[in-house]
Assembly symmetry: C2
Homo-oligomer: 145 residues x 2
Amino acid sequence: MTMPFVDGYLPYLLARASHLVSGEFHRKVEAAGLSVPEWRVLATLADRDVCTVGALADITLTKQPTLTKLLDRMTADGLVERRREGAPDRRQALVSITERGRERARPLLVQAAEHEAQVLAAFGASQGDQLKETLRRLIALHARR
Amino acid sequence: MTMPFVDGYLPYLLARASHLVSGEFHRKVEAAGLSVPEWRVLATLADRDVCTVGALADITLTKQPTLTKLLDRMTADGLVERRREGAPDRRQALVSITERGRERARPLLVQAAEHEAQVLAAFGASQGDQLKETLRRLIALHARR
DNA sequence: AAATAATATATGAAATTTCATGGAAATCAG
DNA sequence: CTGATTTCCATGAAATTTCATATATTATTT
């Protein structure tokens, strides 16, 4: 009652904006037969050669046990591979995307870029760039450690 | 490979910023013995007299069946009340916070305001206000009609 | 007004997520 | 070095979330 929780509170505005903007695209993800967490993993791995489980959990904003079990399922589906050799630290597991995963991700990566372009166009490209810059700064300010 | 998913993609920047900023406060929520969804419900209801289940689901960014079951638990815990009389539409259920819920929410509402103030202070108040304004615009642009 | 469609919430079964903890490997203190 | 601590990932059991659908009510057609 003393706080306009819904409309003036920065954490809520961030959450709502994220929910709305991503939600639009997430419909396309599900239409493509992937869950949102699966999409996040594939999109992240599409970029890089390999990634440790911990780093992937961090990037995909997922808790580690949740990710481990998601990776179990995605491995069973042939979307990703996990191996324990080759890491500098033998506790780590290295995850990489498979060719099959890449094929599934490819059209969505295109659609994601299109969706972002639409959002930015509607918003105004320069304002959009400025928002991105602002968000990067906010993120840097709150990065752990 | 063609897309800098992690660092240049607006939906991801929004999600990450939201995750980091809210994550800090969510630790206090759990320390107070509430789950994040419970906190969202209480914070929303603290402001208003009553709210329909649907509106509450929308505001708290929760799917309706998820919210219904959360409300079952919160009702059992005496944090909220749900009734079907009094609504203009008899399909609706009206949810309100109880005195007990208010007591549990109160200290967290204070901490939430403090946390936001810290975030804004570190970020720069004017930049913070500008970010809020920008987010409101982005939200308005994507609100489901 | 009857029939049909749409909306608000609830519910059961299945799937996922979470918490707490385990084991293995690396790092640190003495 | 040795033992204590910490870090990384996995796992079982419990809790939550989700999907599909049911039920009740309201809105729209015809």
